[in-house]
C-alpha cells in the first residue's frame, strides 16, 4: 500500500496490508503534527503534494527496502491537505521475519520520505505562515538530485 490521501489515515488497514505468515515483527511509525516547533506555536499545517510523482516515490522506497530486506513488506501512506495538531500525517508499516530488520527498514523509510518524495508542508501560526523546506537555501541539491537518486 503506497498512497497519498486526503482523509484521516486508517492505521489498522496500513498495518494489515503488511501482515505475512513469515513475519515475526511489524514496526509501525506514525508522524504526527506537533504544536511547538522552535518555540513557535503551530495552529495547523497545510500539506501539498505532486501526487502522481509522490506515489511513485513512495513505491520506490518500498522497492529499495525489499532490495535490502527481501522478505520485507512495506506500506507508506501520507496524508495531505489541512492537518491539525495531533493529526497523523504519515503512517509507515514494515513487516519482516525478525524485529531488527523491521526497525531498521522503517527508520530508513521515513528518512527517505523526507528526502525524495515531493510533498511540502506550510506551517500556519497565529501570526503568520511559511512553507517549510525552505526559502532560506539551507538545503541544496548539488548533484541535481537528492542523494541516492539517479536519472
Amino acid at each position: 500500500m503506497f498512497a497519498i490521501v486526503r482523509d484521516p489515515i486508517h492505521v489498522a488497514s496500513v498495518i494489515e496490508s503488511v501482515m505475512d505468515r513469515n513475519a515475526g515483527a511489524i514496526v509501525t511509525f506514525l508522524g504526527t503534527v506537533r504544536e511547538l516547533t522552535n518555540g513557535k506555536k503551530t495552529v495547523y499545517l497545510q500539506y501539498e503534494a505532486y501526487e502522481s510523482m509522490a506515489q511513485k516515490q513512495l513505491r520506490r522506497i518500498g522497492e529499495e527496502i525489499v532490495a535490502r530486506f527481501p522478505q520485507a513488506k512495506v506500506a507508506i501512506v501520507h496524508r495531505i491537505g489541512r492537518l491539525d495538531v495531533t493529526d497523523i500525517a504519515v503512517a509507515i508499516a514494515v513487516s519482516t521475519p525478525h524485529r531488527a530488520d523491521a526497525y531498521e527498514a522503517n527508520r530508513y523509510a521515513i528518512e527517505r520520505v523526507k528526502e525524495i518524495v515531493p510533498i511540502w508542508k506550510k506551517e500556519h501560526w497565529e501570526d503568520g505562515e511559511m512553507w517549510i523546506g525552505n526559502q532560506k537555501e539551507t538545503v541544496r541539491y548539488d548533484q541535481g538530485a537528492p542523494e541516492g537518486e539517479e536519472e
Partner: protein
C-alpha cells in the same frame, strides 16, 4: 509545448499552478536560466527539476509534450 508544474512557495510566488512554454526542446539548464530571467525566482539553484516524474540533471533534454515540475526542497513526513 512544454508544461511546467509549480508547487508550494514557487506556486505562490509566480501566482499560478503551471507555466506553458512554446519551445520544442530545451535543456534543464536552459529552463533554469529562462525561469530566473523571466520569473525572477530567487531560488532557482535550489530547485530540483523533474521531467515526466523523474529527477533530471542540468544536461537532460526536455521535449515538447514533456511534463516538467519544479521541486523545491521537500518537507513531507
Amino acid at each position: 509545448m512544454i508544461r511546467i508544474l509549480l508547487f508550494a512557495h514557487i506556486k505562490e510566488m509566480v501566482g499560478k499552478e503551471e507555466i506553458v512554454l512554446s519551445e520544442q526542446q530545451m535543456s534543464v539548464r536552459q529552463l533554469r536560466e529562462r525561469l530566473q530571467h523571466e520569473y525572477h525566482l530567487p531560488i532557482v539553484s535550489s530547485l530540483l527539476i523533474a521531467v515526466n516524474e523523474q529527477f533530471a540533471t542540468d544536461d537532460h533534454m526536455i521535449y515538447a509534450g514533456d511534463v516538467v515540475a519544479l521541486i523545491p526542497p521537500v518537507s513531507g513526513g
